[in-house]
Symmetry: C2
Subunit: 496 residues, 2 copies
């Protein structure tokens, strides 16, 4: 069961059919004037018309790129270059796709005017939503571009695009519609829009960049004459034809499918906290994508959980798709201030069935319990269900690699400043939180625990754990004060 359509959707049958046909009919160079070239050009023009119609824009406003990432790079850098007379200030929300963040980081190192590019990041609330007022506050006289996604790719929260477009006024707003294109319409008011075909069931290799008439744009790459001078390189006609055909097909099914998937996701949102103890379902429960839900499980390593779910036949994702192979916690969850450990994103394809979702809900509790079992923690009962206590084997048996040694190291802890010090230096999350949960009972109510940790995720997960367990998070302190030679001491007061 493939529940990771937010990473990439399986090829839509219509896309496959169109691709096969276009490999026969549209394989030639559309810049050529002979018959096969003219035919490719006709197919390309028709595909552009289809995409324009679905997105509600003019065909000459649509350019095809090689990926959603390329569309974001070109859209952002092209709009910044085209609007440099306004200034060199870029505004984006904290929960944009990593391609936006990477572009902004590069922009801050790019010579522009008298200095370099400048960037303001707009915060989000605990649901992952950027407030229009915060966008308004971030705008300056030298703001050349604002960027906001239509909906978040990790937690599904829908962003207030129309309202942000309103406060932007004549500052161009680029909307990253990668997660919503083909599913839901983007509210009007934006200047540039990007999307990615393989997210809606089209083939890989096709992104969309829409630049509305009158919006200033200057190609950031060495330009050629293709795609209105916006996207250099040979145009991939067969894939574009397939992308357009599937966009139209998906859009036609969307209303019915959205309602159905919305109910299935609602069921996951409701049932997971009933079935699994110590779970936080994140993202906006109301203003959300129909098909996507994310939750985090305390004391669980996300990669281990994903591997177990894979073994059980479920393909799901964790954290940000673009940073899953790094050790950095998801920047989206971090910006929301929610738990990052044991993170699972479920994104349902159009053909997901109720039976599949029920099967997922049936196996998930046992899998999470199995991953937690070796820890031997007493967990509270999940909300709204009979009390469940997960009991495992002896604390030290079957723990993740390095944990046994870590425990011995933790034996070194010295109660400095009346605190129990847990040395979790060198341990990756969720181990610091697991250590905290296991040992906090050793101090009396009112007592303090200092967790020494150098995994960045601890900065997010320890406060999140305190919130979930009703413990008081006191803040950070220099590790040296607690005998640590690196990292940070996270201070927790036991309240219960």
């Amino acid at each position: 069961m493939y529940f990771d359509v937010a990473s990439t959707a399986p090829l839509h049958p219509v896309a496959r059919q169109a691709l096969t046909a276009a490999l026969d009919e549209g394989w030639a160079d559309p810049a050529r004037l002979y018959r096969s070239g003219r035919q490719a050009r006709m197919l390309l023009d028709a595909a552009r018309g289809t995409v324009a119609e679905v997105l509600g824009v003019r065909a000459d406003e649509v350019s095809f790129t090689a990926s959603g990432t390329q569309a974001l790079h070109l859209g952002m850098l092209g709009a910044l270059a085209g609007n440099r007379r306004r200034g060199a200030h870029l505004v984006h929300s904290a929960v944009e796709h990593s391609a936006v963040l990477h572009t902004a980081e590069q922009w801050e190192r790019t010579p522009a005017g008298s200095g370099t590019g400048r960037v303001t990041v707009v915060p989000v609330d605990r649901l992952g939503r950027a407030a229009p007022a915060d966008f308004a506050a971030a705008l300056r006289p030298d703001t050349a571009l604002a960027v906001l996604q239509s909906a978040n790719h990790e937690v599904g929260t829908v962003q207030p695009v129309a309202e942000v477009a309103g406060v932007c006024g004549d500052v161009p707003l680029l909307v990253d519609a990668a997660q919503s294109a083909g599913r839901t319409a983007v509210p009007p008011g934006w200047s540039l829009l990007t999307a990615s075909a393989h997210k809606w069931g089209g083939p890989a290799g096709v992104g969309v960049l829409v630049v509305r008439k009158g919006v200033r744009y200057a190609s950031p790459l060495p330009a050629d004459e293709r795609e209105a001078g916006r996207v250099p390189g040979y145009v991939n006609v067969p894939a574009i034809v397939a992308a357009a055909a599937s966009l139209r097909a998906v859009r036609a099914e969307a209303e019915r499918e959205n309602a159905r998937l919305h109910r299935l996701v609602e069921r996951i949102r409701t049932r997971v906290p009933q079935l699994v103890p110590e779970v936080e379902v994140v993202g906006d429960p109301v203003g959300r994508l129909p098909h996507l839900v994310t939750f985090s499980c305390l004391y669980v390593d996300g990669e281990v959980l994903l591997a177990e779910l894979d073994r059980a036949g479920f393909a799901v994702s964790s954290g940000s798709s673009c940073t899953s192979s790094t050790l950095t916690p998801s920047h989206v969850l971090a910006a929301m201030g929610v738990l990052t450990e044991g993170n699972v994103r479920v994104s349902l394809p159009f053909d997901a069935t109720e039976a599949q979702v029920e099967r997922f809900l049936a196996v998930l509790p046992g899998i999470v319990a199995g991953v937690r079992a070796p820890l031997g923690l007493d967990l509270p009962a999940p909300a709204g269900s009979a009390p469940v206590t997960v009991r495992g084997t002896a604390p030290d048996a079957g723990e993740p690699d390095g944990e046994a040694a870590g425990d011995e190291a933790a034996g070194d802890e010295t109660p400095v400043l009346d605190a129990l010090v847990l040395d979790a230096l060198g341990k990756r999350c969720p181990l610091p939180v697991i250590e905290l949960a296991r040992r906090i009972g050793e101090v009396p109510a009112g007592g303090t625990v200092a967790v020494l940790a150098d995994d960045e995720a601890a900065r997010l997960d320890i406060p999140a754990w305190c919130g979930m367990r009703g413990q008081e998070y006191l803040g950070e302190a220099p590790a040296a004060g607690y005998g640590g030679d690196r990292g940070v001491a996270y201070l927790v007061r036991r309240t219960a």
Copy 2:
């Protein structure tokens, strides 16, 4: 009959088969750890291994891009950024692909060090070949990158890659192997190499960028973790699998096919001048690509010729593939100093037959004659054949639009400074040359004709015509001296 494989090759059957299979087996995100993701990753790794093996490099030196153009952009800008300590000087030959020229033009406007990027263009000889000595002369202490194609895309001339690599020493050399990859091996000594899958029968949407171990490279785009940090964006696994499979297949057939196509092209090179009067076959007759030949026909508009050939069932190309929709003459032919008018590039696919080539040779003379007929010119017999005089209807009948009016304008000509002045202002090539050919007989031997023209191609075609017709080209003069209010006066002395 498709004779334009240098623009794009038809999809190789092996590529189609591999693409279909990979759409089933390799559709998932190769960055994911679940089964379908791991499977996509395995296919991607295998494809990378195949491409590396065919190109004779290590797999971790190969990155996949979205096009050959993107590979050139990234390769050039990445190598320039990575080698900025050397300086900001770029060297490339005058006959590189337009993507190289565009990148160089942008580089000249890019802040680098205390100024901007600097560029030296290495000239080529009449065969289109860049001399290693000229590359050596262009190198400076601050040269950060040199760029040379393996073979020219318009005229097929093979460049002296090994020798240029030799003179480059430790200056990185990027080789654009778009026209030769899969057909012929690239000599060693280069630092970076680029190629494009749709030129060898792979699908569109796949380019190759090879960066040899130890070569400094810094991503010019906002980087992510894909493709060794060199190419951001979602990786198109199915297309890459198809590209690799077809590269291997093509390489296996290449030796036999190269010999066969070499003979067919030799036949075209020999026969066209025998069959068609006033034709110049351009490019190196010996050191050339096996499958590509270009010739130019005096007094012929290339687009008209192509349209007639298309009507006869032949898909061929003209001028630079990337500028065919602009009015600028091919920069390759211009750099070679050869005729640009009536330009036809024939590039044979692997399945081209002798019968197809014979059919082309059978119809070409009649088509060229038909295009020339309305001009009523007396043409010399083609070399090595019985004299052929192409005679048409009255000079003014059936001429291209605007020509009749132009003739009346030409009636205004005034013999200033003892010259016959032909006013071809506002007339597109080949009209100025046609006018010259038609009227030069009006001055006695030793007399001078001044052709007033504002089409840039006249600068190339009038000297080329003089060379072909044994007339003396005297050079350019300000138009004002000959009554022109714009353009240039091209001066020709009638010698025969």
